[in-house]
């Protein structure tokens, strides 16, 4: 079984929390642990924020979110915008890299996505848009034990 969902919403900051709630409602079918769910929501929030702030530069546009999982419990989430694209993806993904638009940005968005998910791929073309595809293996209860173990060993 391959479960698939697609969602398309306006590139408004108010929809960042909507996207988090939507991906959580889809991913809950995999019975993730609370830390896994928090990771997914945070990574999606980063990708949607990037689409709104950098892709569309806070102008009108549409953001698409698709998500899939199958029997192997691998969750794939893609966030797509038709915005301005990224000229140099490798540089943009460096920690603390920011476009320097004067706003207070941490430059940690891609870093958070990479840390909280198992894999992040970015496909971007200047003036055509960006697709960020993130994958995470949802371990469920096993993951809970792993989190506890990691907590214990610090």
């Amino acid at each position: 079984m391959q479960n698939h969902m697609e969602l398309r919403f306006s590139a408004y900051p108010q929809n960042e929390s909507f996207a988090r709630v939507a991906i959580a409602a889809f991913a809950v079918q995999l019975n993730p642990t609370l830390p896994e769910m928090a990771d997914i929501k945070t990574a999606v929030s980063e990708a949607v924020t990037n689409a709104i702030v950098h892709g569309y530069r806070e102008h009108d546009g549409m953001v698409s979110m698709t998500a899939d999982f199958g029997d192997r419990r691998l969750l794939t989430v893609s966030i797509h915008d038709d915005g301005c694209g990224i000229e140099d993806v490798e540089t943009a993904m460096q920690p603390f890299y920011s476009t320097g638009d004067g706003a207070e940005r941490s430059g940690m968005g891609f870093c958070v996505m990479q840390t909280f998910m198992d894999a992040v791929d970015v496909d971007s073309r200047v003036d055509q848009g960006t697709t960020v595809t993130m994958r995470k293996y949802i371990t469920g209860e096993v993951g809970l034990h792993r989190e506890r173990m990691l907590d214990e060993i610090g």
């Binding site: 108010q14 609370l34 929501k41 929030s45 980063e46 940690m108 870093c111 958070v112 840390t115």
Partner: protein
């Protein structure tokens, strides 16, 4: 956003709800309003009821830290929920922002 000021120059502010790009500007404005008082040198954020934060929140915290450092002050947080604590740990934020021991046993 509730304020307590038990000590001169020190203020504790409760930040509740969600801190993302959408809410960042409002929370930034409120914190900057508090920091307009130049006598404040220690801002402590009580995050017990902050249920979500992403890197937009990191930007807000680092911006306020900069303001406080310019006047020789410091920024600290307390009562973080586990996901926010993880964000702090993985981005190295706890190296520049003081993390006070959880007063209410929140983990």
């Amino acid at each position: 956003m509730v304020q307590e000021s038990p000590l001169y120059g020190s203020v504790t502010v409760v930040v509740a709800g969600e801190l993302d790009h959408c809410t960042a500007s409002q929370i930034r404005r409120q914190l900057d309003g508090i920091l307009e008082d130049p006598s404040i040198t220690h801002l402590c954020l009580d995050l017990e009821n902050l249920t979500f934060m992403d890197s937009s929140g990191i930007g807000v915290l680092l911006g306020r830290l900069r303001v406080l450092q310019q006047r020789g002050g410091m920024l600290s947080v307390k009562n973080m929920q586990p996901p926010i604590e993880k964000l702090f740990r993985l981005t190295g934020l706890q190296r520049v922002i003081g993390v006070e021991k959880n007063a209410k046993g929140v983990r």
